[in-house]
Symmetry: C2
Subunit: 149 residues, 2 copies
Amino acid sequence: MASSHDQGKPPANTIAMLGQAYSLLGFRIVEGVVGSGHPIKARYSAVFGQFDPGSAPTRRATELARGAGMSPQAMGELLDEMEELGYLRRDGDPSDRRAKLISMTTLGTHALRAGGQAIGSLEAEIARTLGDDGRAELRRLLELLLAEG
Amino acid sequence: MASSHDQGKPPANTIAMLGQAYSLLGFRIVEGVVGSGHPIKARYSAVFGQFDPGSAPTRRATELARGAGMSPQAMGELLDEMEELGYLRRDGDPSDRRAKLISMTTLGTHALRAGGQAIGSLEAEIARTLGDDGRAELRRLLELLLAEG
DNA sequence: TAAACTACTCAAGTTACTTGATTATCAAGC
DNA sequence: GCTTGATAATCAAGTAACTTGAGTAGTTTA
């Protein structure tokens, strides 16, 4: 796997190109959210990414851990940190007293919205660079690749 | 940035799709090389990636560090590990006695070749999934994105 | 209602970095 | 020809983001 700084000169392999593009754009999402006043880290996306507008308002910690592909312990620590910063809240689950329900605070919702905007403007930039059909074609090809995996 | 296990259900954003595709395929390069008997780690690509067939036979450690976007100390440790495994050799640079010249051993060259084959068969698989022009189009779009960054 | 399983948390260990400091060597200026 | 400042590598200590192992509280099952 190529690092974020392999300055590819020769025709790099497709996988390295994917990595470079991801790294480039991924950092800019974080930058965008940080720029709007939220001291987030890249890894918070493991949580924020599971609270898209469409998703359930509360999730269990273990469910979040599974969804992010990490251990419950690692997720617990991540949730500690985000709770400390005021982005989310842990409440006991009345239906199962072992469990805690995680929900976004108002601040968390603001950060989530800032993330959505950062992504939105990067998507617009991609469309400016590739054209609308270029972007659509890119997404179509990536979907095909991901469906295979 | 999405983790390698965010199981995207809804139409994910393009950046997340790039990340998932990269993670999926990147792991398979490592798997391929490991499968041919080399106990490598993903991070070794920071070095191997700078010894493509076309590149100079020896490089300085600091040059490798810069090329990989990491500190000389981190590169030093990585080189220790790869030297220990027999993939590379450090010789004093006769033209500058502060410096050491890094070169691949025979074993290192074998691993490099195994990497090239793993990448080659993944490229072929991509072409099977997307068609030859799909793959070419993907690469063209990625090049455009990277030229912008 | 005991046995097995699950949710979370505490603790310790690992990996892959970082920054800071030290030594050896080189390159310039005077 | 020597000091002064940069550079190559390395030693050491610290940090971020995980991991596995162990323990407690609560739930489900036979």
